[in-house]
C-alpha cells in the first residue's frame, strides 16, 4: 500500500473498531438481546481465532518442501507451552523464537 492508502486503512480500522466498542451503548438499552445475537457472542470469538491462525500462515506454500512443517511445528510448540505453563507472554515469545530458529537455522 502507498502511505496515503495506509492512512485511509488506519482511519477505517479506527472508526470500525470504535464502532464495535460503542455498539451496545448505541443499540441496547436493556438486556433483551435476540437469541441469535447471544449465539454469535458466545461462539464466534472461538471461530474467528481459529480462522486467524490459518490466516496468519496463508502465504506459506504447503505444496513445496518443507510443506508448512515449520509453521505446524511452531503452532504445536506454542500450544504445548501454553497448555503446560499457562503464561501467555512466555508462550508467545518462546513460540516465536522457536519458529525464528527453525526459519533461520534449518
Amino acid at each position: 500500500m502507498s502511505s496515503y492508502e495506509i492512512y485511509i486503512a488506519i482511519a477505517i480500522m479506527a472508526v470500525v473498531n470504535y464502532f464495535t466498542r460503542v455498539f451496545p451503548f448505541l443499540f441496547f438499552r436493556k438486556n433483551d438481546l435476540p437469541a441469535y445475537v447471544v449465539f454469535i457472542e458466545k461462539f464466534f470469538p472461538a471461530v474467528i481465532m481459529t480462522i486467524l491462525i490459518v490466516y496468519s500462515v496463508k502465504d506459506v506454500d504447503f505444496s513445496l518442501a518443507p510443506y508448512g512443517l515449520k509453521e505446524i511445528g511452531g503452532i504445536v510448540f506454542t500450544a504445548l507451552l501454553h497448555l503446560t505453563l499457562k503464561n501467555y507472554l512466555i508462550s508467545i515469545f518462546a513460540g516465536t523464537i522457536f519458529y525464528m530458529a527453525l526459519v533461520q537455522y534449518l
Partner: protein, 228 residues
C-alpha cells in the same frame, strides 16, 4: 494533586497490564518496522486504533493491499467480541458524562476484565478512576509499540520468522477460548472454513470468505453447537 487517590489506585490495578501490553506492544512495533514501514505508524495506530490483534493483522492488510471494504468487514468480525463488553457496563458508565466516549474507546479485553472484576472503592470518584485506569493501559500499549518500532528501525538484526508472533498470539487466544467454552464444534467450523478458503480462493480474499462461510456453517449447525 487533584484526583491523586484515583490515579494511585488506577496505577496499582493496571500494573499487570503494563507487563503484557509493554511486551506485546514492543513485538508489534518490531514487526511493523521489519516490513520497512515508518516507525511513527506504531504510535499513530496505537493512539487511534488501540486494539492488539487487529493492529497485528493490519500489517498483513498493508502488505496485501487489502480493499477498504474487506478491511472494514474483517475489522468488525475480528473485534466483534468487544460489541458485547459494553452490555455489562451500561449501568456503570451511565454517569460518566464527558469521559464516556474515551471509556468506551478504551474497552480492550484487559481493561474490560479489570473494570468488571475489581471491586469499586466507595471513596473514589469512580468516573475518574475508570478514566485513569483506561488511560494507563493505553499508555503502556502506546509506549511499548513506539519503543519496539524505534528499536527495530535502529538496530538491525535478522527478523526472519518474527511474523510468527501473530500466529502464536492467536494460538494462545484460541486455547483460552477453548478453556471457556469446552466445546470443540466452533473450532472445527473455523478450521474447516479457513482451510477451505485457503485452497479455494485467492489469498487476499481468504479472510472474508472464511468469515462468511463460518457464519453460514454456524447457523446451519446451530443446534449441534448449542447442545454440545
Amino acid at each position: 494533586m487533584k484526583y491523586e487517590r484515583e490515579i494511585k489506585k488506577a496505577f496499582e490495578v493496571s500494573i499487570p497490564v503494563m507487563m503484557g501490553y509493554g511486551v506485546l506492544g514492543f513485538a508489534f512495533g518490531l514487526l511493523l518496522v521489519s516490513f520497512e514501514y515508518p516507525w511513527y505508524l506504531a504510535p499513530i495506530m496505537s493512539f487511534f486504533i488501540y486494539a492488539g490483534a487487529l493492529q497485528f493483522v493490519a500489517i498483513n492488510f498493508f502488505n496485501a493491499k487489502a480493499g477498504y471494504i474487506d478491511i472494514a468487514i474483517a475489522t468488525w468480525f475480528i473485534n466483534i467480541r468487544q460489541s458485547f463488553y459494553g452490555l455489562s457496563l451500561l449501568k456503570r458508565f451511565k454517569k460518566t458524562g464527558k469521559l464516556k466516549p474515551y471509556l468506551i474507546f478504551g474497552l480492550t479485553d484487559e481493561t474490560y476484565a479489570l473494570l468488571t472484576t475489581i471491586k469499586d472503592d466507595e471513596q473514589l470518584k469512580k468516573r475518574w478512576y475508570y478514566f485513569f485506569l483506561a488511560a494507563f493501559n493505553q499508555s503502556y500499549w502506546f509506549i511499548g509499540s513506539t519503543l519496539g518500532a524505534i528499536v527495530g528501525s535502529n538496530i538491525k538484526f535478522n527478523t526472519a520468522g518474527l511474523e510468527f508472533s501473530l500466529t502464536a498470539l492467536f494460538v494462545v487466544l484460541c486455547i483460552e477460548q477453548y478453556k471457556n467454552l469446552q466445546n470443540a464444534v466452533p473450532f472445527v467450523i473455523g478450521g474447516f472454513a479457513s482451510l477451505f478458503a485457503l485452497f479455494a480462493v485467492p489469498s487476499d480474499k481468504m479472510l472474508i470468505v472464511s468469515i462468511i462461510l463460518a457464519l453460514i456453517l454456524m447457523f446451519t449447525f446451530r443446534r449441534k453447537i448449542e447442545n454440545e
